[in-house]
Amino acid sequence: MSQPSTKILYCRCAFAKVIPEGTKNEVLERLCESGESFECVADLCEMSARRDDRIKQLLSEGQSVKIAACYPRAVKWLFHQAEAPFPDGDSVEVLNMREQSADEIIENLTQK
């Protein structure tokens, strides 16, 4: 299990069908089966459009963050557009459910 200092964010991408259903369902199921605390949002694009405070809060505490969503380039600039730019360094990692397998993603999310 990951250390408490690593936050996990999962995006359901609920307004589009661009993430394979099988991948996003399996990642969510296995996340729910783990003992991890996590944040899930219906749609990260929606949160970004609204400059939602929770996006800013996610990055504001200096913890490392793992995000299961889509292409890292898109996610990085969605956060920027939400006035929550990724910090320098490698404290934020984006896992791409459009291309990576559920196994690969869940292993990364729950590793120590």
Binding site: E36, S37, E46, S48, A49, R50, D52, R54, Y71
Partner: protein
Amino acid sequence: MKNEIHPVQVILFEGNGATPWESSRRIGVTTDLLDRGYSVTRITDTANADALSDVSGEASVIVLGEFTDNAPEVVDSKSDRKIETRDTSGLDTEAVVTLVEETRAELADGLNQPGENGAWKPWFPVIDYDRCTNCMQCLSFCLFDVYGVDEDKQIQVQNNDNCKTNCPACSRVCPEVAIMFPKYGTGPINGEPVKQADVERESMKVDITSLLGGDIYSSLRTRSEKAKSRFSKERSPDKALNERKRCLTKLQQSGIIPAEVLAELDLASLPSPEEIQRKAEELAALQDSQSAGAE
């Protein structure tokens, strides 16, 4: 504005003082709530002790749990969020979701629900500032005022709501492949890493523009067949112009744009360098006057 409804946050509390949920119910509730447009936070005993110490944000919070002690205290430092706590002991998945919906109704909170009539699909451009050169092509090409400039005259997405759902036209004509629509099907528009072929197509467009003094539409059409085998099909001014025209025609048909206004627009070509400069200057002046007014 369409996009001002913030998703209600549901917290599944399974930390100290609460019994962990059965796995299948946790999966069912989380999946169902996300698909209805809620945000869901699960808090277990692996969370930081202060996980509930500040739930900052704009939306209401509904805390669910099977509490063995008193329900945990949730602190909102700004004191402007509505917070409700509900015990879910003995409730199955469906009953928990119903409880959440009822609680939201009591709080009189709206929700942008995927699949519902009138729901706003979050479709808007995202700018990759590692690639953007602030050329203002997008600002001039988009006729719906999605783009603007900030106080440093840097291009930015200012009016997400104005973007026409499923239209990625501005992305197709960005010379630097810097505009993404994350919900688009294919790359590079969807945010995939940019390939050399995508950039080469743009180099070709820029060369032709300089050679022909901006009259690139017909030239590109002639050459596009040749280019198709080599370059990304998504990087296409032809497609972009057609998509933009379709969006405008829809607006005209719904009475939002008068036909005579539409007839005056040049919809067959990309903006000339002069047009780009004029629009950029107009917006910069507007930004200056707004900044002055705010001081």
